[in-house]
């Protein structure tokens, strides 16, 4: 699929809660070609910096609109948060491979595992899974969301609206399961047929590492969306590699979504 660079109009750039923001831009061509799990590279600042573009996942698309969710964690995302509706943002995308439906998915159930901001691409993926439902046998998509506190749980409503079965874990126990979301998932797996599920995951590295370990132990098939520092985002600099059983692979090009069983992680 063609990659485009464009100056896209900002329609909304607003705080949702705490350090979390929602950004909506208008770009019909990029929107039309986007798949769940893909991302954009955004030029957040001007010549004053920061120098590099910032990668953000595509959270949802709606006609010509592209939604993203981001957390203010450093200078780049702070500057992005100051950009106003009506301004233009230089974006490159859609980038990366995205989630895929493996052949065995017809008989399997989808389990989505999201940690913190990791919900962003998984909402888009859940939409696609629900839209393609009649084709696959899975009844209800099970979603596990992990967050630090109750306030930081994102997109619970969106998943419920899609008819997903949502379970929550918080690090401080302020909502749902008290502990790591991978702990919650592992408990739930006790009653599931591990050969009949596919886990799709996005979130912080410790969560993904734990998931990869669980999937390896129980022989569960899983696709995980990784993050690595990116200079180019288009496969040119070879900076964003992750180690796999087939050697180093570029997270921006062969990823960001990888089969868990291929990762040396």
């Amino acid at each position: 699929m063609r990659i485009r660079q464009n100056r896209a109009e900002i329609l909304t750039n607003a705080k949702i809660c705490g350090k979390y923001h929602k950004l909506i831009i208008k770009d019909a061509k990029i929107s039309r070609n986007s798949r769940p799990g893909q991302f954009l590279m955004l030029k957040v600042g001007d010549s004053q910096g920061p120098l590099l573009r910032r990668p953000l996942s595509i959270h949802r698309v709606d006609k010509e609109k592209i939604e993203m969710l981001y957390e203010r964690i450093g200078p780049g995302t702070e500057i992005l948060a100051q950009r106003k509706a009506g301004e233009f943002l230089d974006v490159i995308g859609p980038l990366g491979n995205g989630f895929t439906l493996p052949p065995e998915s017809r008989e399997s159930e989808a389990v989505l595992l999201a940690g913190g901001m990791g919900v962003a691409p998984l909402v888009f993926w859940a939409q696609r899974l629900v839209a393609g439902k009649r084709k696959s046998a899975g009844d209800r998509i099970q979603v596990f969301i992990g967050a630090r506190t109750k306030e930081q749980i994102l997109c619970e409503k969106e998943f419920k609206k899609l008819g997903c079965d949502v379970k929550i874990a918080t690090d401080d126990g302020s909502a749902g399961f008290f502990g790591r979301v991978t702990g919650l998932l592992e408990a739930a797996l006790q009653t599931m047929d591990c050969q009949r599920i596919i886990v799709y995951a996005c979130g912080p590295q410790p969560m993904l590492r734990e998931l990869v370990r669980i999937c390896r132990k129980k022989l569960i098939s899983s696709q995980v969306s990784l993050e690595e520092h990116m200079a180019c985002g288009i496969g040119a600099c070879l900076g964003c590699v992750v180690n796999t059983i087939d050697g180093y692979k570029r997270v921006c090009k062969e990823g960001p979504v990888f089969e868990a069983k291929k990762l040396i992680y």
Binding site: R2, I3, R4, Q5, K43, S47, G49, P50, L51, L52, R53, I92, E228, H229, M230, A231, C232, G233, I234, G235, A236, C237, L238, G239, C240, V241, V242, N243, G247, Y248, K253
Partner: protein, 312 residues
């Protein structure tokens, strides 16, 4: 009247003096959707070694003020993989192809690479990369890490490559030296047709929370606007003492910064890190140079080269 942007380096004619720097443009196919590749003066490939290299352990990049530190470690498919899979695609894009080559500790590998590439008509020129800070290219008996940190070793490698190829030869030098002029002179004496200045500046960055280096190999190569003053200074120093053409690079981000290099003495320029931020920047620089020359009533770019007006 459109100003004349053509340049000649060695036996090669380039329709304009704007190139893309090795390692920052992949094998060009990555950029095919994002700019009109035909308009580039030349494409320089990622550096190729005899054997495939998997490169350094990640993390390999980090951002610093106005800069980027990288420690890719010359990941590449090796000469066979390059000729088989990359070159056929590269040559279709139009501009002359300059293939960057490096050794992994045995300078004899340069000769092997040059001989292989000499036979291929799709290859216009060779860039001898003896300046990558992320590998040790020098042989065991050399005290320095890099060939380009030693004038005698530089001379020997360039001379050996010169003997086996008639193709245009560019030698890419490291800024991590005390006297760049001495090294540049050695490359010229050995028969290099041009010099590429500069490769990255060694640097590092630390995460104070974890007290870990921000890139796994600790030290990497700094590029981007942060190194532009260093690069410009080296181009100027070399221009004053050495006769062969200079391809200037280091932090070029727009037409203005490109023009600085021509005025300092570069005959051509290469865009590196800025390709990541603004993939079309090189093409914009080509037309920007044209406009500047027109405005200043200069009919040929050659007349701008080395026109620094200074009191010393």
């Amino acid at each position: 009247m459109t100003p004349d942007l053509k340049i000649k380096i060695g036996r090669t004619h380039f329709k304009n003096p704007v190139m893309v720097a090795s390692g920052t443009f992949g094998y060009a196919e990555e950029f095919a959707d994002l700019l009109d590749l035909k308009k580039l003066g030349a494409i320089v490939s990622k550096t190729i070694t005899v054997k495939p290299r998997q490169g350094n352990i990640p993390p390999r990049t980090c951002e610093t003020p106005a800069g980027l530190i990288n420690s890719i470690g010359l990941e590449n498919p090796g000469i066979d993989g390059f000729i088989e899979n990359k070159l056929p695609v590269l040559k279709k894009f139009g501009p002359p192809i300059i293939v960057s080559i490096a050794s992994e500790g045995d300078p004899g590998e340069f000769v092997i690479l040059a001989k292989r590439l000499d036979k291929l008509s799709a290859v216009t020129a060779l860039e001898i990369n003896i300046s990558c800070p992320n590998v040790k290219d020098a042989g065991k008996n050399l005290k320095t890490k890099l060939i380009s940190q030693d004038p005698k070793a530089t001379y020997a490698v360039v001379k050996a490559v010169r003997r086996v190829t008639g193709k245009t030869l560019i030698t890419k030098l490291s800024p991590n030296v005390t006297d760049i002029v001495e090294i540049a002179q050695a490359a010229q004496d050995a028969g290099s047709d041009a010099l590429a200045l500069i490769n990255t500046v060694q640097g590092m960055a630390i995460d104070i929370k974890t007290r870990q280096p921000k890139i796994a190999m600790v030290v990497g190569g700094l590029s981007g606007p942060a190194i532009r003053p260093i690069a410009l200074r080296m181009v100027w120093e070399v221009y004053r003492k050495v006769g062969i053409p200079i391809i200037g690079m280091g932090g070029i981000a727009d037409t203005e910064s490109a023009l600085e290099f021509f005025i300092a003495g570069a005959s051509a320029i290469s865009v590196g890190t800025q390709n990541f931020i603004d993939p079309g920047v090189s093409v914009k620089i080509v037309s920007g140079i044209s406009k500047y020359l027109q405005k200043n009533k200069i009919n040929s770019l050659k007349k701008l080269v080395g026109t620094l007006e200074c009191k010393i």
